[in-house]
Assembly symmetry: C2
Homo-oligomer: 458 residues x 2
Amino acid sequence: MASSTGDRSQAVRHGLRAKVLTLDGMNPRVRRVEYAVRGPIVQRALELEQELRQGVKKPFTEVIRANIGDAQAMGQRPITFLRQVLALCVNPDLLSSPNFPDDAKKRAERILQACGGHSLGASDAIVTVLKLLVAGEGHTRTGVLIPIPQYPLYSATLAELGAVQVDYYLDEERAWALDVAELHRALGQARDHCRPRALCVINPGNPTGQVQTRECIEAVIRFAFEERLFLLADEVYQDNVYAAGSQFHSFKKVLMEMGPPYAGQQELASFHSTSKGYMGECGFRGGYVEVVNMDAAVQQQMLKLMSVRLCPPVPGQALLDLVVSPPAPTDPSFAQFQAEKQAVLAELAAKAKLTEQVFNEAPGISCNPVQGAMYSFPRVQLPPRAVERAQELGLAPDMFFCLRLLEETGICVVPGSGFGQREGTYHFRMTILPPLEKLRLLLEKLSRFHAKFTLEYS
Amino acid sequence: MASSTGDRSQAVRHGLRAKVLTLDGMNPRVRRVEYAVRGPIVQRALELEQELRQGVKKPFTEVIRANIGDAQAMGQRPITFLRQVLALCVNPDLLSSPNFPDDAKKRAERILQACGGHSLGASDAIVTVLKLLVAGEGHTRTGVLIPIPQYPLYSATLAELGAVQVDYYLDEERAWALDVAELHRALGQARDHCRPRALCVINPGNPTGQVQTRECIEAVIRFAFEERLFLLADEVYQDNVYAAGSQFHSFKKVLMEMGPPYAGQQELASFHSTSKGYMGECGFRGGYVEVVNMDAAVQQQMLKLMSVRLCPPVPGQALLDLVVSPPAPTDPSFAQFQAEKQAVLAELAAKAKLTEQVFNEAPGISCNPVQGAMYSFPRVQLPPRAVERAQELGLAPDMFFCLRLLEETGICVVPGSGFGQREGTYHFRMTILPPLEKLRLLLEKLSRFHAKFTLEYS
């Protein structure tokens, strides 16, 4: 609870320190959670299975799990029709195979038609780590530093958990770079009314598309260490780096290479997902968190919380296995895998470049380079009369602009106000995902609409 | 906030009443959640798509969704290797097909070997509805009535949400029947220190395996209506009914058939899952909630909350489609589907019967009929010296018994204390899922162990 501003050098000089996140200081509601079905009995059963595998003599040869209502784990065969349709859904190439009955194929086609997209992945893991950190009331309530603009999972989760959102602004003039001086400002102000305990970084940035330099990551780690903040590194776009000179550096690797006192002590949770990268497999909810230097007792609490209900679907886990260990050069699938991966990333890089170019040619629109991730976050000038009109309608000015854009052009983008932006500036987030030629038309149409809108209200 | 005990007849005489769960009274943290990426812009885009389909003239022919980072929804083709391995995982019959490369097959085999079981399904939906209901502080904190014994998802979630758990006891002497007089007792006591707003019912019961009669369900609905409680009906075991004379009745159907004033007003959420039933597909996380008479504004809040992060995996959604609409009699897959379904349910019925028989032949063990679901919850006599020994070790007596059972026989069951039980009684929950012959050996081994344990401590 003690503020550590000012005792920076002392902190670095010291040896081992108490963790930011300890069993005593963590979310007390999480501690109170109990979950019998996966309690000490099941943990002991796992140990016994391991001992049996190691050849330890026991009065039995097998652990029989009669604790959980999972019929297939106990040998029940899946119903054929269900699995046939699922195989056709995940691999529609099989629709031309003669080995599947017609009704299974028809059903799979109908389901595939009706399926919309989904975009989550690592979200549940992020929510879980934030949950652990939330504690205190009033002036001791947990504060969490998040970038502005941010991905609204953060603001939504902090609101739901009753934590204090502490904004630090990314620097639009320097291609949305993260500035440690701004972190200090945000932290200093926050300490007046809450207890900041964690710092979230999104790299590559969402919605802003910047890629952090190695120097910046080192500075962020030093800041978190000195100020005793738990670090959350949202790295789900780590494969999506396009700009010449930009390179992805993982917080964990940089931390490890910084050596003592940081490497062995700074608490870090890093997140990845199958929804992004070259895979784009949003529908499978594959995501993971890797924790570094987390207090062992807290880590147990995290596992408990996850086993209460955060059980990821098996197809998503299978997918994650493939992403973490892709085919090796000697494998028969290697060549095709690499070719597909490169093609996806090359096309995304071309779309990132095109987006920046077309927007920056349009008067009244300026767009930072899309160094990584999947989004542009261009700034738009809105004429004062448009701002007034929006206020009359009870809308944020950028919401008013985006709604008009949608009504007149069919283009669906998200107003910057949902992500946060400096007062008086207006943005929108647009993905770079439509096919290249469609994207070109879309960018031009949007730029023309903005010109017309500006004329209409000037 | 006003207690309604005593104004029962008045409530029934009245016409339309305010909902239990209103926008004003719901969890204020949920109301504060905002989620830009799926806000009003996206809702309007959906409406526009519908208008276009209906032939309404627009200045464009297509809505282009540049709002969400779902690459495949924008036309990116999935990476072949990833989808091949997933198809092999969901339908291992394909492992013998010549149309898959060797490395994909090997990888699928390795993943299938490493996959443990999972048991969740409708859990996330239950948590979401409970979240909406939680509000107030101190004496106005939300109370939720849950059965004892209960499935620990309920106690764990209420603890995490900071709601008050209100226990009502099932009647072990009457095969774990639900007794409305006991609901009145529990409610009356709870009103002294919290504000009960919801009643959870698990039917068929977990861990207790009872199946509610239609009369009982009607009485519960009348009770909930008179006492102004939101009803949560956990019906994930609806296909798992074995006992002669037992039949599953859905709360929704019974409610609808009761007519006014109940049918049009009683708020109800009913839950189902692909993890149980004849399907047993725990690994896919397919579950759903159906809400009846929920306030429209609250329902919007629920959808918002679900879209922040509760996006179910696509394979699970596909599976749910199949469960809700299984093959029809004229479909080519009908015969095999029915045969497999009947075989699964018949074997479960035999196991339910066997479990009850063997346990009831063992001195010191008594077991109610397993009318439904997948569990027995037998009561065990533990000698006073075993209870003392457990207390010395700081363990619940049934935990001590179950740990010893595991160490000496390799049988893993869950102590009753994790589900709740009447003070001074001891139980354990054991699934009926092991294959029939293995189950017989297991039941006999367990009974013999209990005899030995009793002798040891008497």
